[in-house]
């Protein structure tokens, strides 16, 4: 089963609450980091939802999905409260 690495980089803030749901699996991030998940080879839509630091107007979140060295998709979010859907086609 292929593995997908989910990289999250949180900038300019200390308080975050973000969930990423893909293939029924829910990942949780409160700080920058990476998590690896196993997924079948098929097409997915990742749901990225959450909140950024309420006291920092310049908060930005960068989310990236990687399979080995290939970037499947990525998104930069600068809204403080957000829901984003992202195509992730796992090979």
């Amino acid at each position: 089963m292929p593995t997908v690495r989910v990289n999250v980089r949180l900038e300019l803030g200390s308080q975050y609450q973000i969930i990423i749901k893909i293939g029924g699996q829910v990942l949780h991030f409160q700080d920058s980091g990476s998590q690896t998940i196993s997924l079948d080879s098929r097409f997915y839509i990742a749901k990225i939802a959450g909140f950024q630091d309420p006291t920092n107007t310049n908060s930005t979140v960068f989310v990236e999905f990687k399979q080995a060295s290939t970037v499947l998709n990525s998104i930069t979010i600068d809204e403080r409260k957000f829901i984003k859907l992202l195509n992730v086609d796992v090979n």
Partner: protein, 396 residues
């Protein structure tokens, strides 16, 4: 310049004496070099870069300009940043949560400097400034995660957005049943376009009406609104917390100081019905001690000292629907001024003014206040119109 002239003459003499055949080539090369030097001298960017590189490492110059820390204009160079802003430029690893918390002090200290240069890149005037947030309760400093502590857990986010999973499953299925690679590619592109539209919208769930019923869209919207409403409330509560800042502004030109201004300002929200309610009013208090050059006596510097104390209450009358920022606000208060040195002829040593100010928002953090003051000492009304920059937002 002198070196160039000497070199030119030496080259001329040498070329005449022993290498006459190369004279024209050398002369032409020198002329080109001179022409380029003249172009460079006229180029603000090259000129300023050479000055800046003496102050800071050249390779960071572009990053400082890009991040708005350095601004250069016609014979003018301005630097403005928090210390944290600089740390981030010089060490890009300091973006993590731990660094953000560790360098809190650096975010609460902003410095600035304006430098005016003459044609020889010599400093003509220097205007330093410093603002320190001595007390800043507008930042959350608790050890527990802000969202966990206030009931916005990952489970709550998942619950509030769960209905959207139905649309996601249906869209995924539409792609995964296609076996033809080209058609599959086209379908993925079509879904990407829809998701892109949603991602750019203000969370408009109706974009997924093909896969969700009207009731589901309504329920989804209602759940998300409930959760974000809680977030908005917490955010507003923090924005009314106490803030105490110290500010300094200096001015140096013509080989002497003409301004050394100090101010201490305090701001806190009040008037909510419960502890968690958004504050209705802002209490403001500020003391200023301005040591300036008398505009009528420019021979000596810093010969006029003015102490000012202001106190009052601010009320936002109209807010922007989208971001909740103030459009029109009113300030009512009093101002006491005492001139301890450099009183003009006919001027009172101290006076009390009652102040009523209406501020109109022109752009983000930029206001046009109309001030109406009643001078209790002279019994006269005074009107003022001036642009104001919202410094409070620096520390948000």
């Amino acid at each position: 310049m002198k070196k160039n002239i000497i070199a030119f003459f030496v080259l001329c003499i040498l070329s005449k004496a022993s290498v006459a055949q190369d004279f024209n080539a050398i002369l032409s090369q020198k002329a080109e070099q001179k022409q380029q030097s003249a172009k460079d001298a006229a180029d603000q960017k090259i000129n300023f870069k050479s000055v800046v590189t003496n102050l800071i490492a050249g390779r960071y110059y572009q990053a400082l300009v890009k991040n708005g820390i350095i601004n250069q204009g016609d014979g003018e160079l301005k630097i403005k940043s928090t210390i944290y802003g600089l740390i981030r430029i010089f060490d890009s690893t300091k973006r993590e949560k731990t660094y953000f918390e560790k360098f809190r002090w650096a975010r609460n200290t902003e410095f600035g400097a304006g430098v005016e240069l003459d044609k020889n890149n010599k400093i003509q005037a220097f205007n330093p400034s410093l603002t320190i947030a001595i007390l800043n309760k507008r930042e959350y400093k608790g050890k527990a995660n802000f969202f966990d502590k206030n009931g916005i857990s990952p489970t709550k986010i998942e619950e509030a957005t769960k209905i959207l999973d139905k649309a996601i499953s249906k869209m995924e299925e539409e792609v995964n049943v296609i076996t033809d690679p080209e058609k599959r590619k086209e379908k993925i592109a079509a879904i990407a376009a829809i998701n892109d539209k949603f991602n750019k919208s203000a969370v408009d769930f109706s974009i997924y009406e093909k896969w969700l019923s009207k009731e589901e869209i309504k329920e989804l919207g209602s759940k998300w609104k409930e959760l974000t409403g809680k977030y908005d409330s917490l955010q507003k509560k923090l924005s009314g917390a106490p803030l105490l800042t110290y500010g300094y502004e200096g001015g140096y030109s013509g080989s002497k100081w003409n301004k050394l201004n100090n101010k201490l300002e305090f701001l806190v929200g009040f008037g909510g019905t419960t502890k968690d309610t958004t504050r209705k009013y802002d209490f403001y208090a500020g003391v200023f001690y301005d040591i300036t050059q008398d505009t009528l006596n420019k021979l000596s510097s810093l010969n006029r000292n003015v102490f000012t104390a202001k106190i009052g209450v601010n009320k936002v009358l109209f807010k922007h629907d989208a971001d909740g920022s103030s459009i029109i606000e009113v300030f009512g208060g009093a101002e006491y001024q005492n001139i301890s040195k450099g009183i003009y002829t006919g001027e009172k040593k101290d006076f009390l003014k009652l102040d009523l100010t209406f501020s109109f928002r022109l752009a983000k953090n930029l206001y046009l206040p109309f001030e109406l003051k009643y001078n209790a000492t002279t019994g006269r009304f005074e009107g003022y119109l001036d642009l104001k920059f919202d410094v409070v937002n620096i520390f948000k």
